[in-house]
Structures are given as structure tokens and as C-alpha cells.
């Protein structure tokens, strides 16, 4: 499953010349990324580099100019819920769970737009196999769980939407390093199921250790890209990221 073999295929997500911003204030400048099927791609960068803005532009919450193609479908003219329907699913920063609903209802909420009841029931069992903790806590209110469990719940909820591309924003935020490592292992499991992951992280080492490829963002631009194992030792990346 090396990235080299993946590159021969057609990209799942192709973004080029994307610029976007907030009310006349440009944030993203001419962003181009490509993600291939069943890849884990890390998008790293320091605070305020524009990572979340890029996710917002991809999920069509934020207007912008450029080209976004997912699975041969042009996303630019779509509304956020239409983009969601094409398979672009987000696990938002801060998780945004339904705190006063049970874990199971949270997961079912992930399948809100799906009509295939039998497949949804199957996927629910799959999630419980993937996250045994969630199975133990299926009747518990989501808001009463620990941060790591809530992040698992949010990821499982996202997966319940049967995404083509799962975009995870700040997965490790506020979590103990050991929990974050466990979640990275889960991503590898998810990839085996054929789900492609775009992981947005501030924790550059964590993200690049589990990803196939990486993009480094700085002030709204992609400044570096390459295989994750090359990027992790690249002094240029270290410099750009740490701002030395």
C-alpha cells in the first residue's frame, strides 16, 4: 500500500487553484492538492496557516474560486449538504457531538442521509467492532464520555455516513498522546476498508508518522509536499513549521 503505487491511479480528490477567504480577506492562495483512493494524507501547519479554512472551502461551507473535484464530480457549485451527499464527510474540530444523545443515536445520526437500512445496521456493528469502547458505551450519553472516547464517537459518526473521503480536523486536540496514537492506529484500520482520510493536524510528528503523504501549509499556501516519511525529517519543514 505504498503511495507510489497509489499515484498511478486517478485521484479521488483533486483541488487546484483554490482561493478563498472571509469577507474580502483572502486566506487561501492558489491551493492545489491531490488525494488518491485509500490514502491517508496529512495536512500540517502551525496555528492560523489556513488548514481549517481549506476544509471549510472543500466542504463548501466557505465560498471560493478554483477547482474541487471529488470522484469526478465538480463540488464547486454544490451546497454543503450536497457536497456531503457526494461522500465528503467531515469530523469537525471540537467534535460537535450531540452531547445529550446516546452514543448509538450519535452514530445513527451519522447515517442521517442514508436510506439503506440494512447496510446502516451492518455499518453500526462494524463501528462497534472497530471501536469496542463505543460498543460498551452505546447507551451512554455522548457528552459524559472522556475526550478520547468522544473523538472516537465523532470519527465513528463520520464513518457511518459511508464517506469516500473522511476529513478529520485536529484529531489529537486536547487528547493524551497515547490516545492520539491509538486513534492513528484506527485510521490505518479504516484505510483497509477503503476509506480515504485527510487528516488535519498541528501535531506534525503524530500526523506524519501515520500518514502516507503530507502537505505543509503556511500562511494559506501549500509550501511543501511529499511522502510522509521524507517530510518528517526534512529540515526545511521543521524550519517552516516552527518558524525558525
Amino acid at each position: 500500500m505504498s503511495a507510489v503505487s497509489a499515484e498511478r491511479k486517478e485521484p479521488l480528490l483533486q483541488v487546484s487553484g483554490l482561493s478563498a477567504g472571509y469577507g474580502g480577506m483572502p486566506v487561501l492562495h492558489d491551493v492545489a492538492i491531490e488525494i488518491f483512493p485509500a490514502e491517508i494524507v496529512a495536512l500540517v501547519g502551525s496555528n492560523g496557516a489556513g488548514k481549517t479554512t481549506l476544509l471549510r472551502a472543500l466542504s463548501r461551507v466557505l465560498a471560493g474560486n478554483g477547482k474541487i473535484v471529488l470522484d469526478r464530480k465538480d463540488l464547486m457549485p454544490l451546497t454543503p449538504d450536497q457536497a456531503f451527499q457526494t461522500g465528503l464527510v467531515q469530523v469537525p474540530e471540537g467534535r460537535q457531538l450531540f452531547d445529550r444523545m446516546t452514543v448509538q443515536d450519535n452514530l445513527l445520526m451519522g447515517a442521517f442521509r442514508r436510506n439503506d437500512k440494512a447496510a446502516v445496521a451492518r455499518d453500526l456493528e462494524k463501528m462497534y467492532a472497530l471501536f469496542p469502547r463505543m460498543a460498551e458505551r452505546r447507551r451512554q450519553l455522548a457528552g459524559s464520555m472522556s475526550g478520547g472516547e468522544q473523538q472516537m464517537c465523532a470519527m465513528a459518526r463520520g464513518l457511518m455516513a459511508a464517506p469516500l473521503l473522511l476529513m478529520i480536523d485536529e484529531m489529537s486536540l486536547g487528547l493524551a498522546p497515547i490516545i492520539a496514537e491509538q486513534l492513528m492506529d484506527v485510521l490505518a484500520e479504516i484505510r483497509k476498508e477503503g476509506v480515504t482520510v485527510l487528516l488535519v493536524e498541528q501535531d506534525i510528528h503524530l500526523a506524519l508518522s501515520g500518514a502516507d503523504r503530507g502537505y505543509v501549509m503556511e500562511t494559506g499556501r501549500i509550501v511543501h509536499s511529499g511522502l510522509a516519511k521524507d517530510l518528517i525529517d526534512d529540515p526545511e519543514v521543521q524550519r517552516a513549521y516552527l518558524g525558525l
Binding site: 449538504d81 456531503f84 469537525p92 450531540f98 444523545m101
Partner: protein, 315 residues
């Protein structure tokens, strides 16, 4: 418990439907008022209870429903049913036109914006010629309390069936998701704007029908009483007292509070308002999730239920 629910509801319904045959005129008139208030509480339940948007604009729908009937019957001499339909059309149009901007606001801001809507409507209708300006309209009288009673009861049944459907449907699930975490709902592909506007409009349909029936019953409407904000406060109190976001809570709240209020004002006229206020304050402190939640939990927690709620409100 579940198996007993359906027969219990049916028996309650038959008893309620039979009231005009064994009850006094006073009881029937009280019944019409109480049932219409229950419909209003159920209407508010859709937008306030299920969707989590505390609307103070439902009295606008009520007023539009009243004026729909008033204008159709007095100015155009059309039948009552056409007037009801006209009121519903006005309400739905209002819900869509004003819901789209107003439903972008959240929490207190939404409440205040909708509060202003009722005030604005009073001012507008007071200057519209076809609505009788600030004098109002006098409708042709129909002295048939039996009909109004059964009509109000029928409307309550339809409203409750709608909410029952809501509580089990995907649409209702989406509304609850919006209430619990609107951003989370949007991320999971719920078209939140569409859902909120639909909930607002559906809430408006029932409020408008209640307003229309009430207008024909009392045969007189004027801007002050049709767009009365205290009516909106009443429906919120009743829905919250009974249990917002439940199927039967608002009915129980509306009927029990109407009865308490009626009893107090006939027994101790001078300080009835004070007592009513005390009942409401006690309810908010002791059972903030309403009667429905209390009845469900009381069996397991007993009197601790109240103690826990007092602790939770940090008095």
C-alpha cells in the same frame, strides 16, 4: 406500560369528546379555550420543543389565522373553511419569508427578534383597511359551542398525531439534532435552514388554525388581542410545564395549567395571578424538564427527583 398507553389515550379522547353532552355550558367554554391553548402549546412544541428555537413569534401565526378567517368571512363573505385555509397560507408565507432571516439567529437573539415580530404585526394590521384597522372586525355569530369544541379537539388530535409522527420520523430526528447541536447536524448533512423553516411553518399552521377557530368562536378580533404577546408566553409556559420535546407533555401542561388558572381565578379572584406565578416558578425549579419527565422518573427516583433538580439549578 407501553401496551397500556394506546387504550389510555383512546379512553381520554372519548371522555374529552363526550364533554359537551354531559358537561355544563361553562365547562364546554372552558374546554374550547383549554383545547385551543393545547393546540398552541403543541404548535410551539414543534419549533421550541423539538427544534430548540424558543419562538415568541407564534402569536403572529395565531393572529394571521384569526385575520385570515376574519377577512375572508367579513370582507369577502367566504365560508369559514376558506378563511381557515387563507389564514394557513398567510402563516406559511410569513414563516418562510421571515423564518429565513430570523432563524439564522440563535438563543436569546432569536427570541428577541421574534418578540419584535408580534409588535410590528400589531402596528401593521392596525393600519390595514381590509383588516378593519385598529377597530378590528366583527364576524357573523355562530352560536354552536358543540361544533367549536369538537373542532378544537379534532385539531388537537391532528396536531398530536403530527408530533407523534415527528418523534419517529427522519425529519423529527433532524430537528432534534439541530436542537442538540446545530453545527454537528449541519456537518452530518442536515439541511439545517430548510429543516428550521419547515418546522417554523408547521408550527405556524397549527397556531393559525387555532387562531381561526378562536376568531369565529368569539366573533370579534382586533390587532391588540389577535397578536397578543402574553398568549405566546402562555403557550411557552404550558409546553415547558408539560414537557417540551415530548408528544403528550404540552397537552398535559395546557390542560392542567388552564384548570389551575380557572380554579384560582374563580376561588380567590384577587390574588389568582400571584398563585399562578408561584405555580410556574415552582415548576421551573422543581421539574425543569416538565411533567412528562417527572412522571417518567418519579417512580425510580422518588422525592429525590425534586431535590436533584433544586441542586442542579444551584439555588
Amino acid at each position: 406500560m407501553k401496551a397500556l398507553q394506546i387504550p389510555a389515550v383512546l379512553i381520554a379522547l372519548i371522555v374529552l369528546a363526550a364533554v359537551p353532552w354531559f358537561g355544563s355550558d361553562v365547562l364546554v367554554q372552558f374546554g374550547i379555550n383549554a383545547l385551543l391553548l393545547a393546540v398552541l402549546a403543541q404548535g410551539w412544541n414543534i419549533i421550541g420543543g423539538y427544534t430548540g428555537y424558543a419562538s415568541f413569534g407564534n402569536s403572529v401565526f395565531y393572529g394571521l389565522g384569526s385575520y385570515g378567517v376574519g377577512i375572508a368571512m367579513v370582507q369577502w363573505e367566504l365560508p369559514f373553511a376558506v378563511g381557515l385555509a387563507f389564514g394557513v397560507v398567510l402563516s406559511v408565507a410569513f414563516a418562510i419569508l421571515l423564518g429565513i432571516p430570523v432563524l439564522r439567529l440563535k438563543g436569546h437573539y432569536f427570541a428577541i427578534a421574534t418578540l419584535a415580530l408580534a409588535q410590528v404585526m400589531t402596528a401593521i394590521v392596525s393600519n390595514v383597511k381590509i383588516a378593519g384597522q385598529n377597530i378590528g372586525l366583527v364576524l357573523p355569530p355562530l352560536n354552536n359551542d358543540l361544533l367549536f369544541y369538537e373542532l378544537a379537539l379534532g385539531l388537537l388530535v391532528v396536531a398530536t398525531l403530527t408530533i407523534y409522527w415527528l418523534s419517529r420520523s427522519r425529519f423529527g430526528f433532524g430537528l432534534i439534532a439541530i436542537r442538540e447541536n446545530e453545527e454537528g447536524a449541519a456537518v452530518m448533512g442536515v439541511n439545517t435552514t430548510l429543516y428550521k423553516v419547515l418546522a417554523f411553518a408547521l408550527s405556524g399552521v397549527f397556531s393559525a388554525l387555532a387562531g381561526g377557530i378562536h376568531a369565529y368562536w368569539v366573533t370579534f378580533i382586533d390587532p391588540e388581542s389577535a397578536f397578543d404577546i402574553s398568549l405566546n408566553v402562555k403557550m411557552i409556559i404550558m409546553a415547558v410545564f408539560g414537557g417540551p420535546g415530548t408528544v403528550f407533555g404540552p397537552i398535559i401542561g395546557a390542560l392542567s395549567l388552564s384548570a389551575i388558572s380557572e380554579f384560582l381565578s374563580s376561588e380567590i379572584t384577587s390574588i389568582a395571578g400571584l398563585f399562578f406565578g408561584v405555580v410556574v416558578v415552582a415548576a421551573v425549579v422543581l421539574m425543569p424538564r416538565g411533567l412528562a419527565d417527572m412522571l417518567r422518573r418519579f417512580r425510580t427516583t422518588g422525592w429525590r427527583y425534586f431535590a436533584e433538580n433544586i441542586k442542579a439549578t444551584r439555588l
